[in-house]
Subunit: 210 residues, 2 copies
DNA sequence: GTTGTTCTATACTAATTGATACGGAAATGG
DNA sequence: CCATTTCCGTATCAATTAGTATAGAACAAC
């Protein structure tokens, strides 16, 4: 459907990607509209608000794009064709690699994107907290699935696994931001996964290094 | 030594504590001078700058105070009278409890205090990164010490332990901020420490729950 | 009580924040 | 060509940012 009127002069998609990079680097609040407009191709305030509505609306769109691209590293959590152990291991390894890759900002936008917020931006903080809760739930579902299929016993130790893996996953955001490389985190993941094996009644899946 | 002149009307120490709480909750950048002055007892701008110099100088003082109080939970790392395994376990358990205690903000100021920063405040970010590096070094020293005394073998798996524990430690800041309670993290720590035991050649220290 | 010192209150600075108003430019559809 | 639609550039908004200037108030020492 052809739209009438003067066409937009900048590439909305590229502008969104540029905003994603800036928000990922600095976080929500410290990123000013001036910086955003500059990195989006020196667009005017009018163009900005016409195309994206507001700073918060842009951020929400940025988070959405992040989840659809970089954030895909954690989708194994919801892939029931994968053995639960493998799903978690893949999630950790792919996150480690993604968060340490230098062709884009390091760390995780969902963990670090709005970690410093004044009260008036609590909605933004809540947005990311909800995503983290979703991840937590995905990890727990994998462990539950493994208990259900008899690989893991429903022991107290098993019940600590979701927190253990989630805490490590979120901690990688800090380590990646501080300069840790993929290889280092990946090696730690290998050691971490041994906990699973030590709790397994009967091994159902083998370790895979993608 | 008695100082001449009009004495200060507010309690500098209490004001510093109030600033600590505010910075801990919101982080460095989103915390405005107006908020600070308000929570410090509605002190005037003149009083603020006379007593603390600048926002950044206040933050540095706040970090110092944090390290001298709440941050003391990680001092076992440098206590060579403790068995290395015990030092790390104590550090994790005490951090978990401290970060989840509700009589003050949750999470860790060193991890979360300046995670969102614009370029002009990079010095603040660097300040906290240096502290995290110090922690990382302390954890590694414990593992090295354990290898040196023959408890752990210098295997590849052993060499991943510092990253493993550090990542988990820093990850707790996120989990605590998201509402996890001490008991939950503490249980995960119990499971995490089993990795150490599985790598130990000969157990030299027993698990302690403070 | 006077002097000297250090505090506080008020007003203010220049710069920046996120967001708008408005007029003109540039395209489409007829 | 014209009419309509949409976008862009500029100027601007009120509010807030970190930080100061100035004048006077409140204490100590003498």
């Amino acid at each position: 459907m052809a739209r009438t009127g003067r066409p937009r002069e900048f590439d909305r998609d590229k502008a969104l990607d540029a905003a994603l990079t800036l928000f990922w680097t600095q976080g929500y609040e410290p990123t000013s509209l001036n910086q955003l407009k500059a990195c989006m191709g020196n667009i005017s305030p009018a163009s900005f608000y016409a195309a994206f509505g507001s700073k918060e609306a842009l951020f929400r769109e940025v988070v959405q794009r992040y989840l659809e691209t970089y954030g895909q590293v954690i989708t194994p959590l919801w892939d029931e064709t994968l053995a639960p152990r493998n799903a978690i291991e893949q999630t950790l390894r792919r996150s480690a690699r993604m968060q340490t890759t230098r062709s884009h900002p390091t760390g995780c936008l969902i963990v670090l994107g709005a970690s410093n917020c004044s009260p008036e931006n609590q909605s933004v903080q809540t947005l990311l907290a909800a995503e983290r809760a979703r991840t937590r739930k995905g990890i727990k579902a994998c462990v539950d699935r493994s208990v259900a299929n008899g690989e893991l016993s429903p022991s107290p130790a098993t019940q600590t696994l979701p927190t253990l893996f989630t805490t490590f996953l979120h901690g990688m955001a800090c380590e990646a931001r501080d300069g840790d490389r993929a290889r280092k985190l990946d090696a730690a993941i290998t050691t971490l996964m041994q906990i699973w094996d030590s709790l397994a009644l009967r091994p159902k899946s083998v370790s895979s290094r993608q």
